[in-house]
Amino acid sequence: MTAVLETRGLGKRYRKRWALSDCTLSVPAGHVTGLVGPNGAGKTTLLNLAVGLLAPTTGTALVLGGEPASSEEQLAKVGFVAQDAPIYAGLTVADHLRMGAHMNPAWDAGAAEHRISQLGLDPDQKAGKLSGGQRAQLALTLAIAKRPEVLILDEPIASLDPLARREFLQMLMEVTAEHELSVVMSSHLVSDLERICDYMIVLVASRVQVTGEVDALLGSHYQLTGPRCDPATLPEDWQIISASHTDRQSTLLVRSDRPIVDSTMTVDQIGLEDLVLAYMSQASRPVTRHANPASPDQSALEAQR
C-alpha cells in the first residue's frame, strides 16, 4: 500500500535556522497519525511541506506517492486545515460551501449541507461571527466535502475549549470511519491524541525522535523501578530512553524488542503520554549510552558513591 506520507532527508532552512532537518519517515495508509512535539519543534513546517505550501531546502516529500501540490489530481487527494482553522471572516457559511463547490471537482455538496445543518450552523451567518469551535467545524466540513484520501490538520483543537474539542474530535473520527480516511494531525498536547491516534511521530528541535504504530511503541517500552543500579551493567540491547537515580532507587525507561524479565526490578508498561514526554526530554538532555565513560549519568553515579 502506498504510504500516506513518505519523506527522505527532508529539511527546511529559514536563513540560518533549520526548522526541520534530515526528516526520514514513512506513514502507512489507514492510520490516524499524531504529530507531536513542543511549540517550535517544526510540526507546522513538516505539514506545510507535505501539502506543498513550502518547498523543501533538502530531500523529498511524497504524499500518497505524489509530489505535494504538483497537479490538480494531487490537490484533490489532500484535505488540509491550517493552524487556527482559517476561514474568510467576511463570507457567510453558505458562501464557503459555494466556493468549495467551485474549486473542487469531487465536491460532495449534499454531505456538506447536511453536515452544516447537523452542526446547527446558520448558512447566512458571516463566518467571522462564528465561535472558535464552529469555525473549526466549518473548516473541517470544507476539507471533508472535497472527498480527500488524506486529511492533514495543523493543531486543529489547540485553541478550542474542552467541549468544542470533544465535538471536533467526534466529527473527525466519524468521517474517518465513514470514508476510511487517513489522517495526519499535529498537537503539542499528547493527551488530546491518546484516544484517537494509532500512529505517532514525535518531533523535537527540528528532528524526528521516534515514530511508529502506537501499540508497537507501547509494547516495546518498559518502565523499570528497583534498587539503584549501575547503567554500565545493564544488558547491551536495552536502549535507555531515560534514567533517574536516587541514592537507593533507579527508574529507567527502556526500549527493548525482547520482553524484559528482571527479578530485581519492577517492570511496568508505560502510557503514551509518559513515553512521548520521555522522548521530548531526552532530546533536550541526551542520555548517553554506557559505552561512553563520560556519560553524565555515570559520572553522577560515581560522584555519589
Partner: protein
C-alpha cells in the same frame, strides 16, 4: 442496543474497556443472541476514539465467538454468557455481603478488603489454571 462509555482515569485501554462492556452486558442479560452492537461509526462519533480501536475490540469478541460480523450490515451477538448462572448471582451476592460485614467487623478498611480479595482471587485462579478472560478482568 447498548451504549459504550469510557473511563479515562481507569488506566484500562479503550480497547479493553469496550470488550469488558460487551462481556458484562452479555453476562447481565442486557445483550442476547441476535442483538446488534453499535456500528463502528456510531461508536467513534460518540466516544471520539480511533475507528481501529473499535474494529480491534470487535475482532477480539468475534475471535472469542461472542459476536459475528455480517458484511455491510453490522456486528451481531451470537452467544449469550448468562447460561443459567444468572440465577446464582442473588445468593452469591448475599454470601458476599455477609463476608464483607464480617471483614468490617474485624476492622478491615476498604483498601485492605480489596487487597485481600485480589490476592485470594489471584491465588485461587492460579490454582485453577487461569484463563485469559479472568486475568484481563483482574487488571
Amino acid at each position: 442496543m447498548i451504549q459504550f462509555h469510557l473511563d479515562a482515569r481507569s488506566g484500562v485501554s479503550p480497547y479493553l474497556q469496550l470488550i469488558q462492556q460487551v462481556r458484562q452486558a452479555l453476562r447481565l442479560g442486557l445483550l442476547s443472541e441476535g442483538d446488534q452492537l453499535p456500528t463502528v461509526k456510531d461508536v467513534v462519533a460518540l466516544l471520539a476514539i480511533n475507528p481501529n480501536t473499535v474494529l480491534k475490540a470487535y475482532r477480539e469478541l468475534e475471535y472469542e465467538g461472542l459476536v459475528a460480523a455480517r458484511a455491510g450490515v453490522g456486528t451481531f451477538v451470537t452467544k449469550t454468557l448468562t447460561d443459567g448462572s444468572l440465577a446464582a448471582h442473588g445468593p452469591l451476592r448475599v454470601d458476599l455481603q455477609d463476608w464483607l460485614g464480617r471483614a468490617r467487623q474485624a476492622g478491615l478498611d476498604d483498601e485492605s478488603i480489596e487487597a485481600l480479595f485480589a490476592t485470594t482471587f489471584r491465588a485461587a485462579s492460579a490454582g485453577n489454571g487461569p484463563s485469559a478472560t479472568i486475568e484481563e478482568e483482574v487488571r
